[in-house]
Amino acid sequence: MPEKNNLIKNTESVTIKRKKFFIYSGSALLGLFAFLNIPSSLFRSGIASKDSTIKITENPNAVKRKSRQVNNG
């Protein structure tokens, strides 16, 4: 039957071959692995290490004022 034959033909044309599938997925995994594991710091130059990120914390016991004008308190 011509209709059936067409259907089978269409199905075959969109199937990825087993060999290609493994090549693509292997390459993708390799790329992902490389992306995640190669240290980006290798490409930094002249910039200090960010290992010790400085934390800024306001002192809760200090008393702030909103203006730099004379206070006369």
């Binding site: 992306f35 980006s40 490409f43 002249g46 200090a48 306001e58 008393v63 004022r65 206070n71």
Partner: protein, 1085 residues
């Protein structure tokens, strides 16, 4: 112009000798040579350096070009790479592909996260201010620390503080860089067997140190604390009481590199009081400064400048004071004086005795005239012969005598701290004779929490250290190895001490010889209280938690005094200070609730006045004891050798801030030299020794010798050399290490004169050369048609106070600089159509009567506007990035120059020539009169800079942050220092003063919120806020009700280069010298 013809002739007539003694052409005269003709005609033209004065052809050629030689040279084609175009493109493509695929995370700037844990009182973008106290030097000025989202970004003076009154010095301004210095110590470390330090925990450090301290105390060995001056009552209690209770063998020694020790000891001998009193400088009609740089680097310059400048205001109704200066070194004070006399420093004492003899024996102005003991001591001094012998101006000395006599009780004589006790005794007597002791403030006095250690105490300390009596030395944020005079032998003695501990922010010469190096908090992370005067206390509060694993130095000692490492907690010293205040300053508060209320109020204000002034007790001055004069003090007499004076650095102080690039790059007020110290010598001395600037000389005194480069400083006395201390740090961060020469080693405890002065110096030329870099000639630019630009164009306009009083219009009435023909030409209108600013129009007024050239404004501008440090090599190439510079002009002769200072910044011209030439419209005008810069538009053609007549535009030839000292300015901590309201500029972008547009925008926003017009006086630019003498004013030129309007339209006002019709918006108020003669108009420009 006849004067100009004469001037040219006089220059052509000059002959000069070079260093080998040959007579060479005038045209070749540079600073390397000096004129033979000593009696050269006074040249009233303004000059910036010897090269300019003597029309050095190189300098003239350089002036014709904006850029340094070589900048426009065609490159050498042979040096080009041999790589072909095709290969280059292939490599470029390949590397671009690799870079694109590999740099997904390049320069990770972090994630943008919501500020969902925002403290209640913080609004993004709104700054908060904390009142605190600066500990950059011994004067403990009140400060306001501005923070944005928790980061301290700017320090200014606290207007509530009774001494500093809203102003601070350059060191205070730049102190924010110390907080973020990436080379701060971050962890405690222990040094074993002279190996490098190993990081240890605080617990381990405390444990080990407490054990050793207990052991030392139990075996009767001294535990020595070496500290700088103690100004804090709580710190005093901790060191001298609580720590001593825990370790009974503890002793405290304090020292300062610079102090008023000689002045104080002289006052004690004269009046019985231990410290020199405070003086109402603003009430003095006449001030005589004897080798005293009270406006520059001596005493509390912030307060001195304010008091002095109150009497240099042409509009506040008060008469001008008159400043006389007699000095050997050219100082800021001397160069601002109305009359300056040049005299060897070791002749000053004799001069004072001559004045005393004049007033006591001849003019009999004092009751002491009847005291035979006094008159007997004075009779051998004769003023006339002294004047003759030292070639002083008879006329000026006569004016001085007349002025001092006329202003008895309202004049003041002050002598430099480096002068010996005997000179100060004579000066005290002179003030007594003239009745000037009326200006001493009686009810407010200086409080010495712990007196500085005397010479004998320090000698005993060294001796105990050497003999093994000292079990431990604690450097309490001090650096005695570097700062103490070398002949104490402190460093050697330290090697005999088994336990040396340094509590310090950064490595230094003393920490390098310590067993334990413990990192301490900066002033931004510390609690503290201070009392420098008996009428108020001030507080210091931490605005952020420590950035690193550091502790406050007082916390460390408090923990040790408790005897266990477990005693430490983050609030230990805060509670200690509060407890002391409960028992002291806020004793009257009563209940805890009331105390807390007052405590918070005190923290808010930063200062607390004491209602009842504490009794001065033993510090009360008695009547003058004339035996002080007649006792057997050895007097300072003039020697045949050279005088060496050692000065405090105008920017680095005692050297503890050597790692601060902003301070290193701040030009010195007179020489404009950056990144170095030098030996300032006179023109005559240079000639006698065939020296030129940059020659290295060997200076030898009884204390030792150093090799230092020479700078020929106009106005220095013959036979006097001056060297700044604070340089030559051998153990320091990358910025400050080995910058300059360590002249501290020339200080001597045994100097015959004083610790900071010798009159037995010998100078030898070494034959070596070292290049000093000065910004003095930078941005000098003219062309043949505009020759003598500063003369003909009246960039500096001056007159006398008498002239102004007689004819307030004198400045405009006597403009004779152009011929009639030229004047007609100048009447030609502008091709530009005037834009009418109907709303706000911003403008600035700079009062040259008040400007002392101190550079505080430049320091403040650097911090506010994220100006990078570029380094000495780039400054040499004219590439400093300062948006405001202080132009210093000399007039007169190199031997006796007059000095004029002029802050120069973007003038925000109405017809800005920079705007017309920008091909991308990156610089354009705003409706409120600002000349703006769109950094993102700028493509770096530099046309604007080329066309700017004021040369105030700065180009980023590099990303200077990346280029300077291994990219230290790109460290994470430095990026936290940046003011987020100002764009950080990168390579290829032009920049310049914006009139602090971020502050204008703040006011504009407030005006919108409050539904009102913008108020000009609400905006204060960074330079204006910092100016110690309030010389800078800023405001709305269209607000006729404002004080600013009056100044802007005053009769003393002029604009620079007004004839080129760019219509600048910075008005200068002409300087008025308070001299007794009305000088010829031609001599004032």
């Amino acid at each position: 112009m006849p004067l100009r013809e004469n001037q040219d002739k006089s220059i052509m007539d000059k002959k000069v000798i070079d260093i080998s003694g040959k007579i060479i052409e005038t045209a070749a005269v540079t600073e390397t040579t000096v004129p033979v003709n000593e009696n050269q005609e006074k040249d009233s033209n303004y000059w910036r350096s010897f090269r300019e004065l003597y029309n050095d052809p190189d300098f003239i050629r350089e002036k014709k070009n904006e850029f340094m030689p070589g900048a426009l040279d065609r490159p050498d084609e042979n040096s080009f790479s041999k790589v072909s175009r095709r290969k280059f493109l292939a490599l470029l493509s390949a590397s671009a592909a690799v870079a694109a695929s590999g740099c997904s995370n390049f320069r990770d700037k972090g994630e943008i996260v919501p500020y969902n844990k925002k403290p209640e009182s913080v609004t993004i973008g709104n700054p908060t201010y904390y009142a605190s106290t600066c500990t950059g030097c011994q004067y403990a000025c009140g400060i306001l620390i501005k923070t944005l989202e928790g980061r301290p970004i700017k320090v200014d003076g606290n207007p509530d503080h009774p001494v500093s009154k809203g102003k601070i010095c350059a060191i205070g301004q730049a102190s924010v860089m110390n907080l973020y210095d990436p080379e701060r110590l971050k962890n405690p470390s222990e040094r074993i067997n002279n190996t490098g330090g190993n990081d240890i925990t605080w617990a381990a450090a405390d444990d080990k140190i407490i054990t050793q301290l207990k052991s030392a105390a139990s075996s009767g060995k001294e535990i020595v604390i070496v500290t700088n001056k103690i100004n804090s009552p709580s710190q005093k209690k901790l060191l001298t009481e609580d720590f001593k209770t825990a370790y009974p063998t503890a002793k405290v020694y304090s020292f300062e590199l610079f102090s008023d020790a000689n002045k104080n000891s002289a006052f004690e001998k004269c009046y019985g009081a231990k410290t020199f009193p405070l003086v109402q400088l603003d009430k003095a009609n006449v001030i005589l400064a004897l080798e005293s740089d009270f406006l520059g680097n001596e005493g509390n310059k912030v307060e001195n400048s304010r008091l002095y400048s109150q009497r240099r205001d042409a509009f506040n109704g008060e008469e001008f004071n008159r400043l006389y200066s007699v000095e050997g070194n050219a100082s800021v004070t001397g160069m601002n004086a109305d009359y300056r006399m040049i005299l060897r420093t070791d002749a000053i004492e004799e001069f004072v005795y001559c004045l005393l003899n004049e007033f006591v024996s001849k003019q009999k102005v004092s009751a002491l005239s009847a005291d035979g003991g006094v008159t007997g001591k004075l009779q051998s001094y004769n003023l006339n012969s002294f004047v003759e012998k030292n070639n002083l101006s008879k006329e000026t000395v006569a004016h001085l005598i007349e002025d001092l006599k006329k202003n008895q009780g309202s004049s003041f004589v002050t002598a430099g701290s480096m002068l010996p006790e005997s000179t100060h005794i004579a000066v005290n007597l002179l003030n007594e004779v003239l009745g000037n002791n009326k200006l001493y403030i009686k009810d407010v006095s200086i409080v010495e929490q712990v007196p500085l250690s005397s010479k004998s105490e320090l000698e005993n300390l060294i001796s105990d250290m050497k003999s093994g009596k000292v079990g431990a030395v604690i450097h309490f944020d001090s650096n005695p190895v570097y700062n103490l005079p070398g002949d104490y032998g402190y460093a050697d003695a330290l090697s005999k001490v088994p336990l040396v501990i340094s509590l310090t922010e950064t490595i230094n010469e003393s920490s390098d010889k310590s067993n334990f190096v413990l990192p301490v908090n900066t002033m931004f992370e510390s609690w503290g209280d201070f009392q420098t005067r008996n009428n108020f206390y001030s507080l210091q509060q931490p605005v952020i938690a420590p950035l690193y694993n550091t502790r406050q130095k007082e916390e460390i000692l408090l923990t040790w005094s408790k005897g266990t490492k477990d005693a430490f907690n983050n609030e230990i010293y805060q509670k200690y200070v509060m407890d002391n205040w409960k028992a002291g300053a806020l004793q009257s508060a009563g209940s805890d609730a009331n105390f807390m209320k007052q405590w918070y109020a005190a923290l808010n204000d930063g200062v607390v006045s004491t209602k009842t002034v504490s009794a001065a007790g033993e510090n009360s001055p008695t009547a003058f004891k004339s035996e002080a004069l007649t006792s057997g003090n050895s007097k300072l007499t003039q020697s045949n050798e050279t005088v060496l004076i050692l000065l405090k650095s105008s920017s680095l102080g005692d050297g503890r801030f050597a790692n601060n690039g902003w301070l290193q790059e701040l030009p010195k007020p007179l020489s404009r030299i950056v990144w170095d110290n030098y030996a300032a010598i006179s023109v005559q001395t240079a000639k006698a020794l065939s020296l030129k600037s940059n020659d290295i000389i060997k200076v030898t005194t009884s204390a030792g010798s150093i090799e230092v480069p020479v700078f020929i400083q106009p106005g220095t006395a013959e036979g006097v050399i001056a060297v700044e201390l604070g340089y030559g740090r051998s153990v320091c961060g990358t910025v400050g290490k080995d910058v300059g020469v360590n002249a501290n080693k020339m200080m001597s405890k045994n100097s015959k004169v004083s610790q900071w002065m010798f009159n037995d110096a010998k100078i030898e030329k070494t034959g070596s050369v070292y290049e000093l870099v000065s910004t003095q000639e930078h941005f000098a630019f003219d062309e043949p048609l505009l020759k003598d630009i500063q003369y003909r164009r009246e960039i500096i306009q001056e007159g006398t106070y008498l002239q102004y009083k007689e004819d307030p219009d004198f400045l405009t009435a006597h403009k004779t600089k152009y011929s009639e023909e030229e004047t007609e030409k100048l009447k030609v209108g502008s091709i530009n159509e005037q834009y009418v600013h109907t709303g706000t129009k911003w403008g600035m007024v700079i009062d040259l009567n008040k400007c002392t050239g101190c550079n505080e404004c430049a320091a403040a501008c650097n911090v506010e506007n994220n100006i990078p440090v570029v380094g000495k090599d780039q400054v040499k190439a004219n590439r400093e990035m300062h948006w405001i510079r202080i132009d210093r002009y000399y007039s007169g002769t190199p031997e006796v120059p007059k000095t004029s200072f002029q802050p120069m910044l973007c003038q925000h011209c109405d017809f800005a020539p920079c705007e017309n030439v920008c091909p991308v419209a990156a610089t354009s005008h705003s409706a409120d009169g600002l000349n703006g810069m769109a950094y993102n538009r700028c493509v770096g053609t530099r046309y604007c800079s080329n066309n700017c007549p004021y040369k105030v535009r700065r180009f980023n030839y590099f990303n200077f942050r990346d280029r300077f000292r291994d990219s230290v300015q790109l460290e994470e901590s430095y990026s936290l220092m940046a003011n987020p309201e100002v764009t950080v500029r990168s390579r290829g972008v032009m920049e310049k003063c914006t009139f602090c547009i971020q502050r204008i925008m703040e006011e504009r926003q407030m005006a919108i919120q409050e539904n009102r017009y913008v108020i000009g006086s609400n905006v204060k630019t960074a330079c204006q806020e910092a100016c110690n003498t309030s010389a800078i004013h800023f405001g709305d030129q269209n607000d006729k009700e404002a004080e600013f309007y009056k100044l802007n339209n005053s009769k003393l006002g002029y604009t620079v280069l007004e004839e080129i019709k760019v219509k600048p918006n910075v008005t200068y108020l002409a300087k008025l010298r308070n001299v007794l003669e009305i000088e010829k108009t031609e001599e004032h420009h």
